[in-house]
Amino acid sequence: MTSNMIPPAIIFILAALLIPFLKGKTKSIYMLLIPVAAFYVLVNIPYGNIWTYEFWGYNLILGRIDKLSMVFGYIFTIMAFLGILFALKVKDDLQHVSGIIYAGATLGVVLAGDFLSLYLFWEIMAVSSTFLIIASRTRASREAGFRYILVHLIGGLFLLAGIVLYVQKTGTIAFDYIGLTGIESYLIFIGIALNAAAIPLHAWLPDAYPQGTPTSTVFLSAFTTKSAVYLLVRTFPGADLLIWIGAFMVFVPIFYAVLENDIRRVLAYSLLNQIGFMLVGIGIGSQLALNGAVAHAFCHILYKGLLFMAAGSVLQMTGKIKCTEIGGLYKTMPLTCLFCIVGAASISAFPLFSGFVSKSMIVTATVNEKMILVYLVLQFASAGVFHHAGIKVPFFTFFGHDSGIRAKDPSWNMILAMGIAAFACVFIGVFPQPLYNLLPFTVNYIPYTGAHVVGQLQLLMFGALAFALLILSGYYPPEIKSINLDVDWSYRKFGRGAYIVMDKGLNALNRVSESILMGSVKGVSSFFNSAAAKIALFVSVNVWLLLGYRDKRLEIKKNQLYNDMIEGTLPIGIGAAVAISFILLVFALT
């Protein structure tokens, strides 16, 4: 059966390349069928290691199929479908292609059973998601995209270095539970934690995600962080460090979320807060806690996607997304408003909504482990989540002061995508058992007890009372056109200086990489140099074609790029270093 099935990641990535050649309805139907085909494969594959290939004496495993990888495989495929549906009417192939490749690479990461294919898909994720950020084609998005890719390439290097040492130590590229033991495990941990946006490696997320287009941010919100959460569940369950990182993460971002003016930045900070809950669950590492972390990731992808869809609809229809500029939109966007409230109720973990049945597993796990402090922090954060994501987002967008904007609800496909996500949030909240059946361990957990429902409702409703009283008394921090400094200040304020340092530093890295291998593998290194130029040329020419460059202008661009690459005036040090590291890896192992 499996021999004639293609790995879902490959389906996505190959299918994405054909998109620019299709038009109209055919194109829409084709794009929607991609996740459907991948889902069909997922449903029909047996457990175990499948799609294994021999590569330079190593066993690549493209399909490690067990309950843990499957639950993430399902939700990522579902979210890819919703994201594609939401973006169906976008007339920009760059977004479609990179979004679908991004989703495919995420599935590749989730199903990978070995480090080499994991790393490959990991880097494809980083690159393809960058295109989603710069797809807005504004100066701000280009700059944020540049910072984003730099941060992720550096994270990728940590991961790669860890992998090299790990493989050297164990003699195999296969991986499963690692645990924080030696230097290699810490390097791998840092690489993964950066993608999970774990504090203090988080600043790239609120910096870059809000710069995406109305539709691309929906993709971004789902994949990178939650695939890292999956990897942490797989490789570092029970690492105490994660409890403290997680507790810090549920706590600190909510202050920023309260202050932020840009709705999508509010959502980005609340994303960090939600990941914090998952990390606490992974850090505790009991069966209940891990189930909770996985279930919460599953629910979170849906309701956070829904909230970003609602915010995207507002941005699409009004061109605005800042609290100071919008308000009173319920009058003409009632459906978007309704779906946003469902998403807000879900993230706030209201009974009968999805967050309630997943987050409470993590909270209960802290009770079982007698962690009073962590429990109190999580409860504080739960009230705080309701405050900023549950009330603030819908209130300032759809109610609050009337901005006078009279935008309509968005097109049918966007409404449908939000409708499906909203339905799923309510369905999971009312009937949690189907989700519980998917979780890695058997679930003996009952979310709906009288004490739990009343306790949670008290927590939330009296939090709402505080909000109401503060708003009515005028003590609530007013909406102000502003930005709030975060850790990214450290590499942004000195932006130009840092760029020069990086430029010099990375090109130096280039030279060092070359000189290391001077002599014995000189040919290999120059091959990588020109290969890098050729690959860059191939990718860029396609992008330029999509952007509408033709003939002479295209020719000039091509020459510029090729010369820059060959003469090393571009900071391509990272690419070369990655390539050279790979060769070193091979040398070290043979």
Binding site: Y375, Q458, Y476, P477, G495
Partner: protein, 81 residues
């Protein structure tokens, strides 16, 4: 174009909403006496603990956020300078 909703333009409706909200708070407090409790920690034996904790969490959140704003808030063009 469809007629727009004006539900909350009427102060009477806002008042009804607020009264409903306050009533639901009272109902929540009373209902705690009629359920089988299973407190997580000893301090949760106190009736209404979650309510008090939720309320003061949010007040503290706003209070600290206001202080944080003094430190981190900058003009929108801060990074472009």
């Amino acid at each position: 174009m469809k007629k727009e909703l004006t539900l909350f333009d009427n102060p009477k409706n806002v008042k009804i909403l607020l009264i409903t909200f306050y009533c639901s708070l009272v109902v929540l407090l009373i209902s705690e006496f009629f359920i089988h409790p299973h407190p997580a920690f000893s301090f949760e034996h106190v009736k209404g603990f979650s309510a008090v904790y939720g309320f003061f969490s949010c007040v503290l959140l706003i209070f600290l956020a206001k202080i944080l704003r003094l430190i981190v808030m900058k003009k929108e063009n801060y990074y472009d300078k």
